[in-house]
């Protein structure tokens, strides 16, 4: 960080956490604060922890559903899980999903929001900048089923497909790529593009709002110092919006680990089950599978992974905040 930016320093410093309750109390007791948890605790207990415990329990049983009896299975389901080719494949796909839902949207979001804020907004027109932001956000407000219909037009395998028509026009020869059914590569690629398309608006809106916090004088001072756009981006923009980057990264990672709708509507897991993701697999087993216990095992495994990732995230975030302080 350049020393010509004292303002940033000062802002950071104020984030110091205090250990005591922050409203001074005559009694000094913090006990009263626990009262504020009552509604939340009851609600989370019933809506989340009760099903969670039931599911964990169910993962040790075989159960056909309905009024059928449960049969104790011990670790059967868990052992089966780790030799289940489809499950392992579905977890491999998660890495690609994280790229498509977290890494690319966050990076693209940073670039586009800086572009919209810094170039379009400040050098052209604020109206245009707002308009473009709204446009990028549109996919977020569409029901996913709608997105599915639209992408199925684009990705049709024959010359009816919009993307194939487009590629044919560019290359001058007939392109007929079977995007969703041809191979794992094109199918997974298509799913990833859909995910990026859906996700991109979320970081843009959040980052642009964050950029609104940055004092314009900072940029002007940096410009006068001869810093180019990229240097300004690194020295001012990024540090300013780091809290937002954390929020976006955490929430989208969580969403990525339990995603299933884009796969469900676009490929249905195909071709040859290669685009399965864990949550889709669990859903399928819950709805159509013969053993709800096994479905519960998959869902529990997902929960454990998501939980671990979230803990790591929050630890890193807390540490980063401490360091800043």
């Amino acid at each position: 960080m350049s020393s010509s930016l004292p303002l940033v320093r000062e802002q950071r410093r104020k984030r110091r956490p205090a250990e005591a309750a922050r409203i001074p109390e005559r009694s000094g007791s913090k006990l009263g604060y626990w009262l504020y948890f009552i509604p939340g605790a009851i609600a989370v207990g019933i809506v989340i922890f009760y099903p969670l415990v039931r599911n964990l329990r169910l993962s040790f049983f075989h159960w056909k559903g309905g009024r059928a009896e449960e049969h104790f299975a011990g670790l059967d389901n868990w052992i089966a899980l780790f030799s289940d080719h489809e499950f392992l494949q579905s977890f491999r796909n998660i890495f690609l999903v994280v790229i498509a839902m977290v890494i690319i949207p966050t990076l693209l979001g940073l670039i586009i929001s800086a572009l919209l804020f810094d170039v379009v907004g400040r050098r052209f027109s604020g109206k245009l900048s707002s308009f473009l932001r709204a446009t990028y956000y549109l996919p977020q407000i569409l029901p996913i089923a709608v997105a599915g219909v639209m992408f199925s037009w684009i990705l049709k395998p024959n010359s009816d497909g919009v993307l194939n028509q487009f590629l044919s026009a560019i290359t001058g020869s007939t392109v007929e790529i079977n995007w969703l059914g041809g191979s794992y590569g094109t199918a997974m690629g298509s799913v990833m593009v859909l995910m990026i398309w859906i996700q991109i608006g979320y970081p843009i809106v959040i980052f642009m709002a964050a950029l609104g916090r940055v004092e314009p004088q900072l940029y002007e001072a940096a410009e006068l110092d001869g810093a180019n756009w990229f240097q300004r981006f690194r020295a001012i923009t990024l540090p300013m919006i780091r809290p937002e980057v954390f929020v976006v990264a955490l929430t989208t990672t969580i969403a990525a680990l339990k995603v299933f709708a884009p796969v469900f509507i676009l490929t249905g897991g195909g071709p040859t089950k290669s685009t399965y993701v864990p949550s889709f697999y669990a859903y399928n087993e819950f709805i159509k599978g013969p053993d709800k216990g096994y479905a519960a095992t998959i869902a529990s495994a997902i929960t454990i992974v998501v939980f671990v990732v979230a803990v790591i995230f929050i630890q890193v975030q807390t540490r980063a905040e401490r360091k800043d302080a």
Partner: protein
């Protein structure tokens, strides 16, 4: 610190007062601007397809490619959708559910995060995580247990089953976010209020909430949109035709082995209009940002 009482973040992403407009735009800036517009065009392109295809007759749709313009404007799809589906009812259900979740979710988030961020209770990192669990577990896990629970409570096909569930799920995000935001709340203000003899509840209501209001309204907008598009759990809990939400209504148009595509497209187009209107009204809210209440 004086800025605190005003809206903490600039209203618009682009302050028009930018003094450097006087400098001529460089070619590089033009290129970047055009790139930004192109990107937006790509994003919006699938929706253009929707618009084109919503006005085709079934025969026209079957015989043309998605890119072809309709031979003649045909409103069969729109008419069929309107006549066969109770869209106004579904729209009302969606609005009611999403609004209740937005409001209740924010209230719950504020209560939780007040104790965590201001109260600094012991083990708060783990408490945040506990609340965050609502966001961490895959929804298919909730499907069966909650269905049976709401069945016992007589809440099936009742909007409150969905409202309760999603209030908790959305409040997970809200609690996480507001906790770290309130963790940076300026102590001076709290001290001043305490010296005036205000109680905790009063400080929360009349000091903290007004200051973080911009963030709360952003949360509300997010909660509203997220709840609006939810599918899996509403599908399980809402079974009678007059309890359906908009996405569920659209799903009804998918047949067992074939789909009445033109009606589906028309329904889709109609169903996103209210969302668009909502978004246009509230998109300024989003510019305030989720940590906008943070101290300047």
């Amino acid at each position: 610190m004086t800025t605190l009482t005003t809206d903490a973040a600039p209203q618009s992403a682009a302050p028009a007062k930018g003094s450097n407009k006087s400098r001529p735009r460089t070619p590089a800036e033009w290129i970047l601007m055009i790139l930004a517009c192109l990107g937006a065009l790509i994003v919006v392109f699938p929706m253009v397809l929707l618009l084109i295809n919503a006005f085709k007759s079934p025969a026209d749709y079957a015989n043309s490619s998605p890119l072809d313009l309709p031979k003649a404007l045909d409103f069969t799809g729109i008419k069929t959708f309107w006549e066969t589906q109770n869209f106004p009812r579904a729209l009302w259900n969606s609005i009611f559910i999403s609004t209740m979740v937005a409001v209740l979710g924010v209230i719950l988030s504020v209560l939780n995060s007040f104790a965590i961020g201001i109260g600094r209770v012991r083990g708060r990192t783990w408490i945040v995580l506990a609340f965050l669990m609502a966001n961490l577990i895959p929804q298919e896990m909730l499907f069966d247990p909650l269905f049976k629970l709401y069945d016992k409570l007589g809440l099936l096909s009742n909007p409150w089953s969905v409202i309760i569930t999603f209030t908790v799920i959305q409040a997970a995000f809200g609690t996480y976010l507001l906790s770290s935001l309130l963790g940076t709340f300026p102590k001076e203000i709290l001290e001043a209020a305490a010296v005036d003899g205000a109680s905790r509840g009063k400080i929360l209501r009349s000091v903290i909430v007004p200051i973080i209001r911009p963030t709360l309204s952003v949360l509300m907008v997010f909660f509203f949109i997220w709840t609006w598009n939810e599918f899996l759990l509403p599908l399980a809990f809402l079974n009678t035709s007059d309890s359906l939400t908009v996405p569920l209504l659209l799903e009804q148009l998918n047949g067992e082995r074939q789909t009445d595509t033109t009606t589906l497209i028309a329904g889709t187009l109609i169903s996103i209009i209210p969302t668009m209107i909502f978004f246009l009204i509230f998109q300024r809210t989003l510019t305030r940002g989720i940590t906008a209440g943070a101290v300047k």
